[in-house]
Symmetry: C3
Subunit: 669 residues, 3 copies
């Protein structure tokens, strides 16, 4: 990228009256230099089967070009027109809930050839038309693609072939998945039942993996079409979204981001997060780290919130804080979904930068200051290179396996455990990458944190042991190593394979009720010293016990252990303690790994993020994620605060307003 991009999704088609010139005028005033168009409006561009009308695309491209605003064109394939469903009802995905109903987006069967035929045609028509337009800098293929739980007979048919390919014989399959149980054996491929009703988690998880593969294939197929038209100066991207809990929350269960991202030139993400008093920057950081790690370089924030919901309307200052937080994680683009609030249909209350009155409002006014600063500082802030020494290993397989075998109570999911660990690192200003099972870069990290790696191959666990042996440091949580990649529980002593590195074993686990850690070993005080939900009854073999349970019957068992193994150290957390205890355990591991420095003396709500800019100088972002002003001593080399252009000296006092930002450029790392 040559320029920081500050953008909005723009829907000329949704406008209640002619607004294009006025919209562009207001965009320019706010420093908007990018719009994304066309990705939601297939029925406008192809009002009838084979009848095309790109009026709104053409006029927007021309007008944006004239105004010097870049355009990303989206393929409009995630929301299908009425005529298609009327002609070919079978384009709708059959799901475990039955046949589909027209209405919402993302309801089609992404493997249906009729759908694919029409999708390819509209892509070729649209991209063929716009690819030479000077305003177009790139393409977004589809939108937050997932598999939409497609599982009709045709999908089942393909799944059987996929399984046959992987296992060869029914005998291998029956053995791998334990299908003797409850008479579920498949003794002939012809007997393969629909997987929709299965109670076998191994089979169910294999189907989920297959469905994720469908997404990977679909995106690769779209990219291959768009690539035929793409100019050398253009890119293909996709807006991956995340596990959702009213906001972006964790690993996306339905997509293998790492595999799917192979098809695109630049990884992109949609990041939505709590706001107002609940704004912490955690989702911006987690989703940013995840997306940056897909290709190990800078990424796009293709969607994030402007005003959004009534409970997300930003406090003064928060829109700025958010924008620079994205940059600090390595984003080269911050794009709002969307420019204007929509006057009809289901996202009416998901407000854009403009309210429904389409005039200025306080959030828009704040955006103007961001646009100004992005333009001013683009050269210094773009293409930030980040080199983190810690990483968190996440896994679709582990996530799926814990959907099949949830923790007791059902309230703590895999992503909760991921975030329990990640968020503590964030609070301590430990910069992180995200690792995926396919990553081949374990060795470059001093610390790897492994939350609840319930399902993993022998090979992955052996690699983790090897990493420790060679001097790496790992912090595991409970459940790690328990099952293989087919979610078959291992019959070795638990935790299987990694027990070697951790120096522990256990044969029983219980729900934690009225349990604490004996003697408050981490000095977190009575209110934070309790254990909840889960506890493995650990017996150390070679490990040192960091904490025992305090319980009338299980008091002899270890809760948290640490083991020297080869040149490295493996910590194992066998239970669900409080955030405070997790933080202390991670701090200990960070210190062991040599990751503790001056930035760790600051803690959330003061967040520090850093990287190297194109000039080779260090950019350090300081964020105040709180409603109170803060002030602290700046510990690094003398630098310049770029927003105010003030010189900041080592050990000088740095003050941040509530929800404030400072950006210091300095020499050194």
């Amino acid at each position: 990228m040559q320029q920081l991009l500050y953008g909005v999704a723009y829907y000329d088609e949704y406008m209640p009256y002619e607004r294009l010139d006025e919209d562009i005028r207001m965009m320019k005033e706010a420093g908007i230099n990018l719009v994304r168009i066309a990705e939601s409006t297939w029925s406008t561009h192809e009002p009838q089967n084979g009848v095309f009308d790109f009026t709104s695309v053409d006029r927007v491209l021309d007008a944006m070009h004239q105004a010097g605003i870049h355009v990303i064109v989206g393929t409009p394939t995630y929301a299908i027109p009425t005529w298609m469903v009327k002609e070919h009802p079978d384009v709708l995905a059959v799901t475990p809930n039955g046949p589909g109903r027209y209405g919402a987006r993302q309801i089609m069967d992404i493997t249906n050839p009729t759908y694919l035929f029409y999708a390819e045609r509209i892509i070729r028509k649209l991209i063929g038309r716009v690819c030479k337009h000077p305003a177009v800098i790139g393409y977004q293929i589809d939108n937050e693609t997932k598999h939409y739980h497609t599982s009709g007979p045709n999908v089942q048919q393909r799944f059987i072939k996929y399984v046959k390919e992987r296992f060869g014989t029914v005998e291998e399959l029956n053995k791998a998945f334990g299908l003797d149980y409850w008479s579920n054996r498949i003794n002939s491929w012809e007997d393969f039942p629909s997987v929709v009703g299965t109670i076998n988690g191994s089979l169910g998880a294999e189907f989920a993996r297959f469905q994720r593969q469908l997404v990977t294939d679909f995106l690769a197929w779209q990219a291959s079409i768009v690539n035929e038209y793409k100019r050398p100066d253009q890119f293909v991207t996709h807006n991956f979204d995340f596990g959702w809990r009213g906001h972006s929350h964790g690993v996306q269960p339905d997509v293998d981001h790492f595999a799917a991202a192979q098809a695109v030139d630049i990884a992109g993400a949609d990041i939505y997060h709590p706001s107002q008093d609940k704004l912490t920057g955690k989702e911006i950081s987690f989703c940013g780290d995840s997306t940056r790690s897909l290709k190990g370089t800078n990424y796009f924030v293709l969607e994030t919130q402007a005003q959004a919901f009534p409970h997300w309307t930003p406090y003064p200052g928060q829109l700025r804080l958010q924008a620079f937080s994205h940059l600090a994680s390595g984003a080269n683009m911050v794009e709002y979904w969307h420019w204007h609030s929509i006057h009809n249909s289901i996202e009416t209350y998901w407000k854009g930068l403009l309210s429904h009155d389409l005039g200025p409002n306080p959030t828009y006014e704040e955006a103007k200051t961001i646009g100004r600063d992005f333009a001013k500082l683009s050269d210094k802030l773009i293409n930030l290179k980040k080199k983190n020494r810690a990483a968190v290993l996440v896994s679709n397989e582990a996530l799926t396996s814990m959907q099949w075998f949830p923790l007791p109570g059902g309230n703590v999911s895999y992503n909760d455990v991921v975030r329990l660990m990640y968020d503590r690192l964030y609070e301590m200003n430990i910069g992180c990458d995200i690792l995926y099972p396919q990553s081949d870069s374990f060795e470059q990290y001093d610390l790897i944190v492994v939350p609840a790696l319930y399902a993993a191959s022998d090979e992955l666990l052996a690699r983790l042991n090897e990493y420790v042996k060679n001097g790496g440091n790992i912090v595991y949580t409970f459940k790690s190593g328990f099952a293989n990649e087919h979610i078959k529980v291992r019959s070795e002593t638990q935790p299987a394979i990694i027990g070697d590195a951790c120096g522990i074993q256990y044969s029983q686990f219980v729900e934690a009720r009225d349990v604490t850690l004996k003697g408050d070993p981490f000095e977190v005080g009575a209110e934070h010293n309790n254990v909840n939900v889960w506890m493995e009854l650990l017996v150390p073999t070679t490990a040192e016990v960091l904490a025992f349970y305090d319980h009338p019957h299980w008091g002899a068992y270890a809760a948290i252990t640490e083991n020297r193994y080869g040149q490295g150290t493996a910590t194992y957390i066998g239970c669900l303690p409080s955030e405070q205890v997790i933080r202390k355990v991670l701090e200990r591991a960070c210190r062991t790994a040599g990751l503790w420095g001056v930035d760790q003396e600051l803690q959330f709500p003061i967040i520090v993020k850093s990287g190297i800019n194109e000039a080779g100088r260090t950019i350090r972002y300081y964020f105040n994620y709180s409603d109170e002003p803060v002030s602290f001593s700046y510990p690094h080399e003398d630098g310049v605060e770029l927003l105010t252009e003030q010189l900041i000296r080592t050990n000088g006092q740095l003050s941040l307003e509530r929800w404030g930002v400072a950006i210091i450029e300095a020499d050194g790392e």
Copy 2:
């Protein structure tokens, strides 16, 4: 009406043994002078297709006539016989939940021609047979008719024609409903998808309006048939029911009462309400005012509770209090559902006046006193004329729109806002009418209260502005004016159109959390001064601010405003405050409108209702809705308490027992 009617629904068909003479004996003893029959028992009257058996009707009519008890005959069309469903399964309504199942009542497609054919036949057979019988004073068509969510292909087909009729072209439709969004455009009428899965609230709300029209049409069709047989001295009525929350609660979402009532001679209602310690009279008043306002005159309570559920079994005195409360709102009939408790099926625990043992019981004994007093006072209490100076404007469209776009949290519905306002007026003894968007009588009121008028036409909002300009007083709540009649959010500055009269504007709104009104402006104390759920960030243009928000970021915005506009005043409540604050705001508006008088010095639980009787004298009801005796000074002209026949002098002391009633007839208004 010549006589106050005190009645019961009577089901000879349900009796476990021959009881007719004994029932009539007990009815006479209780002063029952009316029964409603036949409306639930189609399968008894037509046991096989085309085979009729009106034995139970004939014998009941004869016996009642002999006993001097009037009869309303109901058409039995709301519960269909087994033979019909077996022969023609497609008479069952297809709903969003799929095809229907036989069992419950109100499960048919009210547009199905097979059903309509059989319904017409049984109506003609039954009404033709009974219409000359001297016992019959009138007819109830069907029972609590609604559309039962019928939405199968035939209904969809009619809906498309209805939409075509309203919008003319798909282009108009797409524009009005914003169907470009998510590729929902209908570019050809042939493409019109089933509305069942739609995510477009405009389309969904139009379908709801269409479904309400089906109900209006169905009732008009039934009335037209019955009218062919009706004697001049007979009437047609219908028992409208209300939005339900375990009891009658507010506006009925599925019926346009105002439109549907055009077909009947006398408006009727089914009114069910909490009891025991939760008896307040509010539902009796709200539903009574609603029904009276349909035709601007007296109405029937065709169903209300006798013993009903275990948690409704009335305390001693409550049955009397309820009966006279109905009269005080203008009812000419109080009819219990039902005479005897049923020994089988789903309403076994919805007990009638008699328990399952069919003998006397304490509630029946109390009914005897009511029958006695109704007979004694009939001439004085019948045909009470009420002239209220305040009104509450309600709207099916607003209700539907807030089902599509609910308030945050989903716990506060349109009807909750309606009742929040109405109930405060009730507590202050402000007599109310109910206005509907079709009402043409705005100008006759000094005060109109407008709760959450989310969806409304330009014309309606302009009429409301005009009303204020001409000297009227309005109190609006939040959300009013936000969208047009197609639930398209207006792109004018909000609150659109009415912002002129209210002298305010806003472009942002948020969820209210930990927010209060600055400085407790209404002096309600800390526990009642908070704001919840919703707050619009109001900026006054010409309005006076009655309350600001107390919030670290939104403190500069107004919460409640008042504006002089032309000759009148418009108050706007931009948030959801406590009942106490609402009461203070309404009290202020009442005083401005000149509605504050001596009756307002009394407050709930002492309720005063009044009207003019046929002799032109004022009847004033005093109710004690509490478990403690009360005593107060009677402020009006000297009068006679009709139950005790005591003279009550101005400023004399009036005492009411717990759950007690007094009725004073006096000169003057």
Copy 3:
């Protein structure tokens, strides 16, 4: 039985690697002398239609025989193979939720002839093959059989014939079920609608009774086949399970245990119960008493928990306590489900005696001590004869009727009322039998407790009156007598029929809110003196009032009464008081019935159970169901504590560890 059986369910088919010899070695070490095999693995034994493979059966039988371990062979019919469903999808039960999906067990239509054909074939193949094997001591037919809500058209067709058989004419049917209501009449058998959507509880309950009959017939059919092969020294049993609330909780709604048990030689049960701090022994006792009462003699515990769920993992000592508790109720077998934890599929976390690592663990170690003690004491503890003087009457009909007409709030079910009464007797060490409506042994008891007998025939109520008249003592709760066996509410004065014996009547009932018993008549203190959910407004005719309600309006009515009737006494509890009040009322009734003795001076958590062993001596079990050691005076004849072989003298001190057991053999009763 010649020997106490200590067993496990064993699945060679599920093993992740060859383990048979090692498993047998570990079983022998734990004293396991019984395994149950084959009941879950049809698809292993018949991998394709008509292709049989009994390898795992043969090899396990041989190996067990060699090791001296007995085998029960289960018919594998409760979980069907994939090939059957692929060939004949209609073997899946159609239920109110629609057609079935393959995956889980217990999803077939137990009346489907295709299923029955294949089921009979596999039974004959399997049982014919194993019946002569010396290891086989008996057979379990099917597994926890229920009707799985089968209600498709074929079942409906049979139901109509069943109804025709019972009622003869539609007229009788309409009358019995009150089908005039809501036009539900069936005026011709051809019109009979599917019962799935019915709102008529009488019809619904009749269908439930019919479905239970299907279960009875199915088990009798299976037994008749197995009986053809059974050797004289072998038995047929079945593992009945119970109403489920996360554990065995009460009467099984879907099976008539009493009727179904006629088909088997020995009654068996699956008993699962809370553990750890929630272990009380109540479910062990209730389910044991229920199963023993089916045939009036000793029974099998065919399944109970070893480690099971994380929240059930037993504390040290609990596995022993549980095992001997089963024996104390008359069990001759304690069998764990299951030997080893399963590595795949839905019951992965329902752990067996072995953990997934298949090695020893603390629970397995404790099982070894049980095996040792069972072997040592088998002769003394086997075939314990119990003679209880109290009984609790339970009824499928009453349970179903209270599903149709639940108590207000929906939180208190029939089984809750059953357990409310039963558990208090348990806590007072009153040994109980369970009576069913078909039982003919009322007269042998001094006290019968009758919880919520909502639906009962005239004949049953008359028998209960007769029982009291002849000197028996009954404690009824509310709702008893209210409806007949068709759930038609009786039109006599309530409580109908039994009102004679109880000396009371009522015509009204209400929900209990803020109600207490006047003057705390049972001296339970304010916190336990309240009444909840339900109160009948009782008026005594001849009864003595034990408690009045304290309520501003219902204070004149009685809550609990006692009446002398003939030679006996009938107590009636007209409301839902606290456990403490129930206990006091039951204590009073026990004293009246002469059931109060030295064992009643001990109370829960000290539990005493006794019986006569084969030598004619009295065995008394003392259990400490608490986490604290207890000590008390032993009040009976001198005896020997069998586990320690210590002499215990009358009035000697007996000490029990936490969760401890003592077993004393002595003369006398």
